[in-house]
Amino acid sequence: MNTVELFFAYFAVSMTLLSVLIISVKNPVHSILLMLVLFFHIAALYLFLNAEFLAAVQVILYAGAILVLFLFVIMMLNLKEELMSHRFINEWPIGLALGLSIIVFIFFALDKFNPNYKGTYTIEAIKAETNTKAIGKILYTEYLLPFEIASLILLIAIVGAIVMAKKEK
Protein backbone atom coordinates (compact mmCIF):
# COMPACT_ATOMS: atom_id res chain seq x y z
CA MET A 1 0.00 0.00 0.00
CA ASN A 2 1.53 3.29 -1.00
CA THR A 3 0.83 6.68 0.57
CA VAL A 4 -2.01 7.56 -1.78
CA GLU A 5 -3.80 4.34 -1.08
CA LEU A 6 -3.29 4.83 2.61
CA PHE A 7 -4.89 8.25 2.44
CA PHE A 8 -7.72 6.91 0.38
CA ALA A 9 -8.32 4.13 2.85
CA TYR A 10 -8.48 6.63 5.65
CA PHE A 11 -11.02 8.79 3.82
CA ALA A 12 -13.17 5.88 2.78
CA VAL A 13 -13.34 4.41 6.25
CA SER A 14 -13.91 7.67 8.05
CA MET A 15 -16.56 8.76 5.56
CA THR A 16 -18.47 5.56 6.16
CA LEU A 17 -18.17 5.99 9.89
CA LEU A 18 -19.26 9.62 9.70
CA SER A 19 -22.29 8.69 7.63
CA VAL A 20 -23.38 6.18 10.20
CA LEU A 21 -22.80 8.68 12.98
CA ILE A 22 -24.82 11.36 11.21
CA ILE A 23 -27.94 9.27 11.23
CA SER A 24 -27.42 7.81 14.67
CA VAL A 25 -26.43 10.86 16.71
CA LYS A 26 -29.36 12.15 18.76
CA ASN A 27 -28.79 15.85 18.51
CA PRO A 28 -29.57 17.12 14.99
CA VAL A 29 -27.14 20.01 15.33
CA HIS A 30 -24.37 17.60 16.12
CA SER A 31 -25.25 15.50 13.14
CA ILE A 32 -25.05 18.60 10.97
CA LEU A 33 -21.61 19.29 12.33
CA LEU A 34 -20.61 15.75 11.49
CA MET A 35 -22.05 16.26 8.04
CA LEU A 36 -19.79 19.26 7.67
CA VAL A 37 -16.81 17.08 8.44
CA LEU A 38 -18.10 14.53 5.95
CA PHE A 39 -18.31 17.18 3.25
CA PHE A 40 -14.73 18.10 3.92
CA HIS A 41 -13.71 14.50 3.46
CA ILE A 42 -15.58 14.39 0.18
CA ALA A 43 -13.84 17.57 -0.93
CA ALA A 44 -10.53 16.00 -0.06
CA LEU A 45 -11.41 12.96 -2.17
CA TYR A 46 -12.15 15.25 -5.10
CA LEU A 47 -8.70 16.70 -4.63
CA PHE A 48 -7.29 13.21 -5.03
CA LEU A 49 -9.00 13.03 -8.37
CA ASN A 50 -7.35 16.32 -9.36
CA ALA A 51 -10.75 17.99 -9.36
CA GLU A 52 -9.93 21.15 -7.43
CA PHE A 53 -12.88 23.02 -8.81
CA LEU A 54 -15.31 20.38 -7.66
CA ALA A 55 -13.65 20.29 -4.27
CA ALA A 56 -13.99 24.03 -3.85
CA VAL A 57 -17.57 24.03 -5.05
CA GLN A 58 -18.34 21.16 -2.71
CA VAL A 59 -17.23 23.27 0.21
CA ILE A 60 -18.79 26.53 -0.98
CA LEU A 61 -22.16 25.16 -1.94
CA TYR A 62 -22.74 22.21 0.32
CA ALA A 63 -20.86 23.29 3.39
CA GLY A 64 -21.17 27.03 2.96
CA ALA A 65 -24.72 27.42 1.79
CA ILE A 66 -26.91 24.34 1.95
CA LEU A 67 -25.75 23.08 5.29
CA VAL A 68 -26.02 26.54 6.82
CA LEU A 69 -29.62 26.63 5.72
CA PHE A 70 -30.17 23.19 7.25
CA LEU A 71 -28.70 24.50 10.43
CA PHE A 72 -30.92 27.54 10.18
CA VAL A 73 -34.02 25.38 10.07
CA ILE A 74 -32.92 22.89 12.70
CA MET A 75 -32.00 25.62 15.13
CA MET A 76 -35.55 26.87 14.92
CA LEU A 77 -36.89 23.56 16.17
CA ASN A 78 -37.54 23.00 19.79
CA LEU A 79 -34.60 20.72 20.29
CA LYS A 80 -35.32 19.84 23.89
CA GLU A 81 -38.38 17.90 22.81
CA GLU A 82 -36.55 16.49 19.85
CA LEU A 83 -33.89 15.03 22.09
CA MET A 84 -36.50 13.15 24.07
CA SER A 85 -38.13 11.53 21.07
CA HIS A 86 -36.88 8.46 19.28
CA ARG A 87 -34.32 9.03 16.65
CA PHE A 88 -35.67 6.40 14.26
CA ILE A 89 -39.07 6.35 12.71
CA ASN A 90 -41.32 3.34 13.06
CA GLU A 91 -40.91 2.24 9.46
CA TRP A 92 -37.24 1.44 9.83
CA PRO A 93 -37.55 -2.10 8.32
CA ILE A 94 -38.57 -0.57 4.98
CA GLY A 95 -35.53 1.67 5.10
CA LEU A 96 -33.35 -1.26 5.91
CA ALA A 97 -34.78 -3.26 3.04
CA LEU A 98 -34.24 -0.39 0.63
CA GLY A 99 -30.68 0.07 1.78
CA LEU A 100 -29.90 -3.60 1.47
CA SER A 101 -31.34 -3.78 -2.02
CA ILE A 102 -29.19 -0.85 -3.10
CA ILE A 103 -26.13 -2.64 -1.75
CA VAL A 104 -27.11 -5.72 -3.74
CA PHE A 105 -27.49 -3.58 -6.84
CA ILE A 106 -24.09 -2.08 -6.38
CA PHE A 107 -22.63 -5.49 -5.78
CA PHE A 108 -23.89 -6.73 -9.10
CA ALA A 109 -22.94 -3.57 -10.90
CA LEU A 110 -19.42 -3.80 -9.54
CA ASP A 111 -18.68 -6.21 -12.30
CA LYS A 112 -19.19 -3.61 -14.97
CA PHE A 113 -16.97 -1.08 -13.23
CA ASN A 114 -13.91 -0.32 -15.34
CA PRO A 115 -11.22 1.47 -13.38
CA ASN A 116 -8.96 1.94 -16.37
CA TYR A 117 -11.39 3.85 -18.56
CA LYS A 118 -9.95 7.05 -20.00
CA GLY A 119 -12.10 9.70 -21.68
CA THR A 120 -10.98 12.65 -23.75
CA TYR A 121 -10.03 14.53 -20.63
CA THR A 122 -7.11 12.73 -19.15
CA ILE A 123 -5.41 14.11 -16.12
CA GLU A 124 -2.67 15.53 -18.27
CA ALA A 125 -5.17 17.23 -20.56
CA ILE A 126 -6.98 18.74 -17.60
CA LYS A 127 -3.76 19.94 -16.06
CA ALA A 128 -2.81 21.64 -19.29
CA GLU A 129 -6.11 23.39 -19.54
CA THR A 130 -6.85 23.92 -15.85
CA ASN A 131 -9.66 22.19 -14.14
CA THR A 132 -12.15 25.05 -14.25
CA LYS A 133 -11.84 25.56 -17.97
CA ALA A 134 -12.26 21.86 -18.64
CA ILE A 135 -15.43 21.67 -16.60
CA GLY A 136 -16.80 24.79 -18.23
CA LYS A 137 -16.13 23.47 -21.67
CA ILE A 138 -17.64 20.08 -21.09
CA LEU A 139 -20.62 21.50 -19.27
CA TYR A 140 -21.54 23.95 -21.98
CA THR A 141 -20.95 21.70 -24.98
CA GLU A 142 -21.50 18.04 -24.34
CA TYR A 143 -23.77 18.33 -21.34
CA LEU A 144 -25.56 21.54 -22.20
CA LEU A 145 -29.04 20.02 -22.27
CA PRO A 146 -28.81 18.17 -18.93
CA PHE A 147 -27.28 21.27 -17.43
CA GLU A 148 -30.18 23.45 -18.56
CA ILE A 149 -32.71 20.89 -17.43
CA ALA A 150 -31.10 20.76 -14.02
CA SER A 151 -31.18 24.52 -13.72
CA LEU A 152 -34.85 24.56 -14.73
CA ILE A 153 -35.66 22.00 -12.07
CA LEU A 154 -33.91 24.14 -9.52
CA LEU A 155 -35.83 27.18 -10.70
CA ILE A 156 -39.07 25.30 -10.23
CA ALA A 157 -37.97 24.35 -6.75
CA ILE A 158 -37.25 27.98 -5.93
CA VAL A 159 -40.61 29.13 -7.26
CA GLY A 160 -42.29 26.34 -5.34
CA ALA A 161 -40.59 27.36 -2.13
CA ILE A 162 -41.72 30.94 -2.56
CA VAL A 163 -45.29 29.87 -3.30
CA MET A 164 -45.36 27.67 -0.21
CA ALA A 165 -43.93 30.40 1.97
CA LYS A 166 -46.46 32.92 0.68
CA LYS A 167 -49.47 30.72 1.31
CA GLU A 168 -48.84 30.68 5.01
CA LYS A 169 -49.85 34.28 5.45
Binding site: E52, V59, G64, A65, L71, N131
Partner: protein, 342 residues
Amino acid sequence: MIDLIRIHTGDIIFNILIILVKTAVVFGVAMLHVAYATYFERKIIGHMQVRLGPMRVGYHGLLQPIADGVKAFFKEDIIPLNADKPVFIIAPLIAMFATISSLAVIPFFDGFVIADINVGILFLLAMSSLGAYGIVMAGWASNSKFSFLGGLRSSAQVVSYEIAMGLSLVGIMLMAGSLNLTEIVKAQQQYWHGMFLVPQFLAFFIFTVGAFAETNRTPFDLPEAESELVAGYFVEYSGMRFAFFFLAEYVGMIVMSSISVICFWGGWTLPPIIVNTFPFLGEIPGIIIFLLKVYCYLFLFYWVRATLPRYRYDQLMSLGWKVLIPLALLNIVATSLIKFFF
Protein backbone atom coordinates in the same frame (compact mmCIF):
# COMPACT_ATOMS: atom_id res chain seq x y z
CA MET B 1 23.02 26.64 3.93
CA ILE B 2 19.69 26.01 2.27
CA ASP B 3 21.26 23.62 -0.17
CA LEU B 4 22.90 21.83 2.72
CA ILE B 5 19.56 21.28 4.37
CA ARG B 6 18.08 20.15 1.10
CA ILE B 7 20.77 17.56 0.54
CA HIS B 8 20.43 16.19 4.02
CA THR B 9 16.69 15.98 4.12
CA GLY B 10 15.48 15.12 0.68
CA ASP B 11 13.00 16.99 -1.51
CA ILE B 12 9.66 16.21 0.07
CA ILE B 13 10.68 16.91 3.60
CA PHE B 14 12.51 20.03 2.45
CA ASN B 15 9.37 21.29 0.79
CA ILE B 16 7.35 20.59 3.87
CA LEU B 17 9.92 22.47 5.91
CA ILE B 18 9.71 25.44 3.57
CA ILE B 19 5.95 25.44 3.82
CA LEU B 20 6.15 25.26 7.59
CA VAL B 21 8.51 28.21 7.71
CA LYS B 22 6.31 30.18 5.35
CA THR B 23 3.26 29.35 7.42
CA ALA B 24 4.98 30.41 10.58
CA VAL B 25 6.03 33.70 9.02
CA VAL B 26 2.59 34.44 7.60
CA PHE B 27 0.88 33.44 10.82
CA GLY B 28 3.20 35.54 12.93
CA VAL B 29 2.96 38.57 10.74
CA ALA B 30 -0.80 38.22 10.47
CA MET B 31 -1.22 37.95 14.25
CA LEU B 32 0.89 41.03 14.72
CA HIS B 33 -1.23 42.79 12.18
CA VAL B 34 -4.39 41.73 13.95
CA ALA B 35 -3.08 43.04 17.24
CA TYR B 36 -2.20 46.37 15.77
CA ALA B 37 -5.29 46.49 13.59
CA THR B 38 -7.27 46.68 16.80
CA TYR B 39 -4.96 49.36 18.08
CA PHE B 40 -5.25 51.46 14.95
CA GLU B 41 -8.97 50.97 14.80
CA ARG B 42 -9.31 52.38 18.27
CA LYS B 43 -6.90 55.17 17.52
CA ILE B 44 -8.40 56.14 14.18
CA ILE B 45 -12.00 55.98 15.31
CA GLY B 46 -10.99 57.76 18.47
CA HIS B 47 -9.55 60.66 16.58
CA MET B 48 -12.55 60.75 14.29
CA GLN B 49 -14.71 61.04 17.38
CA VAL B 50 -12.78 63.84 19.04
CA ARG B 51 -11.13 61.61 21.61
CA LEU B 52 -7.74 60.03 21.88
CA GLY B 53 -8.21 56.28 22.02
CA PRO B 54 -5.83 54.17 24.08
CA MET B 55 -3.18 56.33 25.73
CA ARG B 56 -2.13 54.54 28.88
CA VAL B 57 -0.12 51.44 28.06
CA GLY B 58 3.15 52.44 26.47
CA TYR B 59 3.81 55.52 24.40
CA HIS B 60 0.42 56.63 23.07
CA GLY B 61 -0.97 53.26 24.07
CA LEU B 62 1.28 51.36 21.73
CA LEU B 63 1.42 48.33 23.99
CA GLN B 64 -2.31 48.26 24.49
CA PRO B 65 -2.95 45.29 22.14
CA ILE B 66 -0.41 43.22 24.03
CA ALA B 67 -1.99 44.15 27.33
CA ASP B 68 -5.37 43.22 25.91
CA GLY B 69 -4.04 39.91 24.71
CA VAL B 70 -2.56 39.09 28.10
CA LYS B 71 -5.79 40.10 29.78
CA ALA B 72 -7.91 37.94 27.48
CA PHE B 73 -5.58 35.03 28.01
CA PHE B 74 -5.74 35.10 31.77
CA LYS B 75 -9.42 35.82 32.08
CA GLU B 76 -11.69 33.25 33.57
CA ASP B 77 -13.23 31.03 30.96
CA ILE B 78 -16.93 30.71 31.59
CA ILE B 79 -19.10 28.09 29.94
CA PRO B 80 -22.81 28.49 30.66
CA LEU B 81 -24.38 25.60 32.48
CA ASN B 82 -26.92 24.75 29.83
CA ALA B 83 -24.66 25.34 26.89
CA ASP B 84 -23.93 22.55 24.44
CA LYS B 85 -20.39 22.13 25.63
CA PRO B 86 -18.57 20.56 22.66
CA VAL B 87 -20.18 22.91 20.16
CA PHE B 88 -19.61 25.85 22.44
CA ILE B 89 -15.91 25.04 22.55
CA ILE B 90 -15.53 24.22 18.86
CA ALA B 91 -17.37 27.30 17.58
CA PRO B 92 -14.68 29.95 18.16
CA LEU B 93 -12.07 27.57 16.81
CA ILE B 94 -14.02 27.06 13.60
CA ALA B 95 -14.46 30.80 13.23
CA MET B 96 -10.77 31.43 13.73
CA PHE B 97 -9.32 28.60 11.67
CA ALA B 98 -11.64 29.22 8.77
CA THR B 99 -10.35 32.76 8.39
CA ILE B 100 -6.74 32.00 9.19
CA SER B 101 -6.56 29.20 6.63
CA SER B 102 -7.62 31.74 4.01
CA LEU B 103 -4.24 33.34 4.47
CA ALA B 104 -2.66 30.22 2.95
CA VAL B 105 -3.60 31.04 -0.61
CA ILE B 106 -3.00 34.77 -0.58
CA PRO B 107 0.09 35.81 -2.51
CA PHE B 108 1.70 38.62 -0.54
CA PHE B 109 4.26 39.37 -3.19
CA ASP B 110 5.53 37.76 -6.31
CA GLY B 111 6.19 34.11 -5.57
CA PHE B 112 5.43 34.24 -1.87
CA VAL B 113 2.37 32.17 -1.23
CA ILE B 114 2.00 29.16 1.00
CA ALA B 115 -0.24 27.19 -1.37
CA ASP B 116 -0.37 28.40 -4.94
CA ILE B 117 -3.53 26.54 -5.94
CA ASN B 118 -5.43 26.95 -9.16
CA VAL B 119 -8.77 27.69 -7.55
CA GLY B 120 -7.50 30.28 -5.10
CA ILE B 121 -10.51 32.55 -5.30
CA LEU B 122 -12.90 29.68 -4.76
CA PHE B 123 -10.90 28.53 -1.78
CA LEU B 124 -11.18 31.97 -0.24
CA LEU B 125 -14.92 32.02 -0.79
CA ALA B 126 -15.24 28.55 0.70
CA MET B 127 -13.31 29.53 3.79
CA SER B 128 -15.19 32.76 4.32
CA SER B 129 -18.47 30.85 4.14
CA LEU B 130 -17.17 28.42 6.73
CA GLY B 131 -16.63 31.30 9.10
CA ALA B 132 -20.39 31.53 9.37
CA TYR B 133 -20.40 28.13 11.08
CA GLY B 134 -18.44 29.46 13.96
CA ILE B 135 -20.95 32.24 14.44
CA VAL B 136 -24.05 30.14 13.98
CA MET B 137 -22.75 27.42 16.24
CA ALA B 138 -21.73 29.91 18.89
CA GLY B 139 -25.17 31.47 18.74
CA TRP B 140 -26.90 28.17 19.08
CA ALA B 141 -24.65 26.51 21.61
CA SER B 142 -24.71 29.38 24.10
CA ASN B 143 -28.33 28.55 24.84
CA SER B 144 -29.14 32.24 25.08
CA LYS B 145 -31.87 33.88 23.09
CA PHE B 146 -29.89 36.95 22.20
CA SER B 147 -26.97 34.98 20.87
CA PHE B 148 -29.38 32.66 19.12
CA LEU B 149 -30.91 35.58 17.27
CA GLY B 150 -27.43 36.78 16.42
CA GLY B 151 -26.59 33.36 15.02
CA LEU B 152 -29.74 33.29 12.93
CA ARG B 153 -29.10 36.73 11.56
CA SER B 154 -25.54 35.84 10.75
CA SER B 155 -26.37 32.67 8.88
CA ALA B 156 -28.94 34.41 6.71
CA GLN B 157 -26.65 37.35 6.14
CA VAL B 158 -23.57 35.37 5.22
CA VAL B 159 -25.44 33.07 2.86
CA SER B 160 -27.04 35.92 0.98
CA TYR B 161 -24.04 38.21 0.79
CA GLU B 162 -21.72 35.46 -0.24
CA ILE B 163 -23.68 35.01 -3.42
CA ALA B 164 -23.29 38.66 -4.30
CA MET B 165 -19.64 38.64 -3.38
CA GLY B 166 -18.91 35.47 -5.31
CA LEU B 167 -20.72 36.78 -8.36
CA SER B 168 -18.88 40.07 -8.19
CA LEU B 169 -15.60 38.16 -8.39
CA VAL B 170 -16.77 36.30 -11.50
CA GLY B 171 -16.11 39.47 -13.46
CA ILE B 172 -12.52 39.35 -12.26
CA MET B 173 -12.23 35.68 -13.17
CA LEU B 174 -13.49 36.45 -16.65
CA MET B 175 -11.07 39.32 -17.11
CA ALA B 176 -8.12 37.35 -15.83
CA GLY B 177 -9.11 34.02 -17.32
CA SER B 178 -7.93 32.24 -14.22
CA LEU B 179 -8.87 31.52 -10.65
CA ASN B 180 -5.30 31.58 -9.48
CA LEU B 181 -4.64 34.69 -7.44
CA THR B 182 -1.09 35.14 -8.72
CA GLU B 183 -2.37 34.92 -12.26
CA ILE B 184 -5.03 37.50 -11.49
CA VAL B 185 -2.43 39.96 -10.27
CA LYS B 186 -0.29 39.33 -13.31
CA ALA B 187 -3.26 39.74 -15.64
CA GLN B 188 -3.77 43.26 -14.34
CA GLN B 189 -0.33 44.28 -15.49
CA GLN B 190 -1.47 44.09 -19.10
CA TYR B 191 -3.44 47.28 -18.69
CA TRP B 192 -1.97 50.72 -18.44
CA HIS B 193 -3.83 51.33 -15.17
CA GLY B 194 -2.69 48.01 -13.74
CA MET B 195 -5.87 47.54 -11.72
CA PHE B 196 -9.14 45.75 -12.35
CA LEU B 197 -10.68 48.48 -10.26
CA VAL B 198 -11.08 50.63 -13.37
CA PRO B 199 -13.03 48.30 -15.63
CA GLN B 200 -14.67 46.44 -12.76
CA PHE B 201 -15.74 49.36 -10.58
CA LEU B 202 -19.22 47.89 -10.23
CA ALA B 203 -17.81 44.59 -9.05
CA PHE B 204 -15.56 46.45 -6.66
CA PHE B 205 -18.53 48.22 -5.13
CA ILE B 206 -20.43 44.96 -4.73
CA PHE B 207 -17.40 43.20 -3.36
CA THR B 208 -16.78 45.92 -0.81
CA VAL B 209 -20.34 45.81 0.45
CA GLY B 210 -20.17 42.04 0.54
CA ALA B 211 -16.88 42.13 2.40
CA PHE B 212 -18.38 44.35 5.08
CA ALA B 213 -21.30 41.99 5.43
CA GLU B 214 -19.12 38.87 5.47
CA THR B 215 -16.95 40.20 8.25
CA ASN B 216 -19.97 41.48 10.21
CA ARG B 217 -18.68 45.02 10.27
CA THR B 218 -20.72 48.20 10.52
CA PRO B 219 -23.16 48.91 8.87
CA PHE B 220 -23.83 45.19 8.64
CA ASP B 221 -22.92 44.24 12.19
CA LEU B 222 -26.39 42.91 12.89
CA PRO B 223 -25.25 39.56 14.32
CA GLU B 224 -23.54 41.45 17.11
CA ALA B 225 -25.72 44.56 17.08
CA GLU B 226 -24.93 45.90 20.48
CA SER B 227 -28.03 47.96 21.01
CA GLU B 228 -30.38 45.19 19.93
CA LEU B 229 -28.81 41.85 20.77
CA VAL B 230 -26.37 43.11 23.40
CA ALA B 231 -23.41 41.40 21.74
CA GLY B 232 -25.19 38.91 19.56
CA TYR B 233 -23.64 35.53 19.04
CA PHE B 234 -20.73 35.90 21.47
CA VAL B 235 -22.71 37.31 24.34
CA GLU B 236 -21.91 34.28 26.50
CA TYR B 237 -18.24 34.04 25.62
CA SER B 238 -15.43 35.30 27.74
CA GLY B 239 -11.69 35.27 27.98
CA MET B 240 -9.74 33.51 25.30
CA ARG B 241 -12.75 32.14 23.47
CA PHE B 242 -14.08 35.64 23.10
CA ALA B 243 -10.67 36.72 21.88
CA PHE B 244 -10.84 34.02 19.20
CA PHE B 245 -13.94 35.61 17.75
CA PHE B 246 -12.26 38.94 17.88
CA LEU B 247 -9.26 37.48 16.16
CA ALA B 248 -11.45 35.85 13.53
CA GLU B 249 -13.14 39.15 12.76
CA TYR B 250 -9.87 40.98 12.30
CA VAL B 251 -8.18 38.24 10.32
CA GLY B 252 -11.34 38.21 8.24
CA MET B 253 -10.96 41.91 7.64
CA ILE B 254 -7.34 41.47 6.62
CA VAL B 255 -8.23 38.59 4.31
CA MET B 256 -11.02 40.58 2.71
CA SER B 257 -8.70 43.53 2.26
CA SER B 258 -6.11 41.24 0.71
CA ILE B 259 -8.61 39.77 -1.72
CA SER B 260 -9.72 43.22 -2.66
CA VAL B 261 -6.13 44.37 -3.16
CA ILE B 262 -5.28 41.31 -5.23
CA CYS B 263 -8.39 41.33 -7.37
CA PHE B 264 -9.01 45.02 -7.81
CA TRP B 265 -5.95 47.01 -6.86
CA GLY B 266 -3.24 45.10 -8.67
CA GLY B 267 -1.80 43.24 -5.71
CA TRP B 268 1.86 43.91 -5.08
CA THR B 269 2.33 45.77 -8.35
CA LEU B 270 2.07 49.43 -9.14
CA PRO B 271 0.19 50.59 -12.25
CA PRO B 272 2.53 50.35 -15.27
CA ILE B 273 1.82 53.94 -16.20
CA ILE B 274 3.29 55.13 -12.92
CA VAL B 275 6.24 52.78 -13.00
CA ASN B 276 7.01 53.83 -16.56
CA THR B 277 7.02 57.52 -15.66
CA PHE B 278 8.91 57.11 -12.41
CA PRO B 279 11.06 54.00 -12.91
CA PHE B 280 12.56 54.21 -9.42
CA LEU B 281 9.16 53.27 -7.98
CA GLY B 282 9.57 49.86 -9.56
CA GLU B 283 12.34 49.19 -7.05
CA ILE B 284 9.98 49.22 -4.07
CA PRO B 285 9.55 45.70 -2.70
CA GLY B 286 6.20 44.18 -3.58
CA ILE B 287 5.32 43.38 0.00
CA ILE B 288 5.43 47.05 0.95
CA ILE B 289 3.10 48.06 -1.84
CA PHE B 290 0.81 45.20 -0.98
CA LEU B 291 0.67 46.06 2.69
CA LEU B 292 0.13 49.76 2.01
CA LYS B 293 -2.83 48.91 -0.16
CA VAL B 294 -4.18 46.57 2.49
CA TYR B 295 -3.85 49.32 5.10
CA CYS B 296 -5.79 51.72 2.90
CA TYR B 297 -8.55 49.21 2.58
CA LEU B 298 -8.54 48.50 6.31
CA PHE B 299 -8.83 52.20 6.90
CA LEU B 300 -12.03 52.11 4.88
CA PHE B 301 -13.41 49.56 7.35
CA TYR B 302 -12.62 51.85 10.26
CA TRP B 303 -13.88 54.93 8.54
CA VAL B 304 -17.22 53.35 7.73
CA ARG B 305 -17.55 52.12 11.28
CA ALA B 306 -17.14 55.63 12.59
CA THR B 307 -19.62 57.07 10.15
CA LEU B 308 -22.57 54.87 9.36
CA PRO B 309 -25.56 53.70 11.39
CA ARG B 310 -26.62 50.09 11.33
CA TYR B 311 -28.93 48.52 8.80
CA ARG B 312 -32.09 46.80 9.83
CA TYR B 313 -32.40 43.09 9.16
CA ASP B 314 -34.98 43.26 6.39
CA GLN B 315 -33.25 46.23 4.77
CA LEU B 316 -30.02 44.28 4.77
CA MET B 317 -31.72 41.35 3.07
CA SER B 318 -33.42 43.47 0.46
CA LEU B 319 -30.17 45.27 -0.27
CA GLY B 320 -28.43 41.96 -0.76
CA TRP B 321 -31.03 40.22 -2.85
CA LYS B 322 -32.66 43.07 -4.70
CA VAL B 323 -29.73 45.34 -5.40
CA LEU B 324 -26.39 43.61 -5.11
CA ILE B 325 -27.15 40.26 -6.74
CA PRO B 326 -28.88 41.75 -9.81
CA LEU B 327 -26.05 44.25 -10.14
CA ALA B 328 -23.49 41.47 -9.91
CA LEU B 329 -25.31 39.47 -12.57
CA LEU B 330 -25.46 42.54 -14.77
CA ASN B 331 -21.76 43.00 -14.27
CA ILE B 332 -21.07 39.42 -15.33
CA VAL B 333 -23.17 39.74 -18.46
CA ALA B 334 -21.58 43.05 -19.39
CA THR B 335 -18.07 41.78 -18.76
CA SER B 336 -18.55 38.62 -20.76
CA LEU B 337 -20.12 40.52 -23.65
CA ILE B 338 -17.22 42.96 -23.74
CA LYS B 339 -14.74 40.14 -23.42
CA PHE B 340 -16.45 38.24 -26.21
CA PHE B 341 -16.61 41.09 -28.69
CA PHE B 342 -13.29 42.80 -28.09
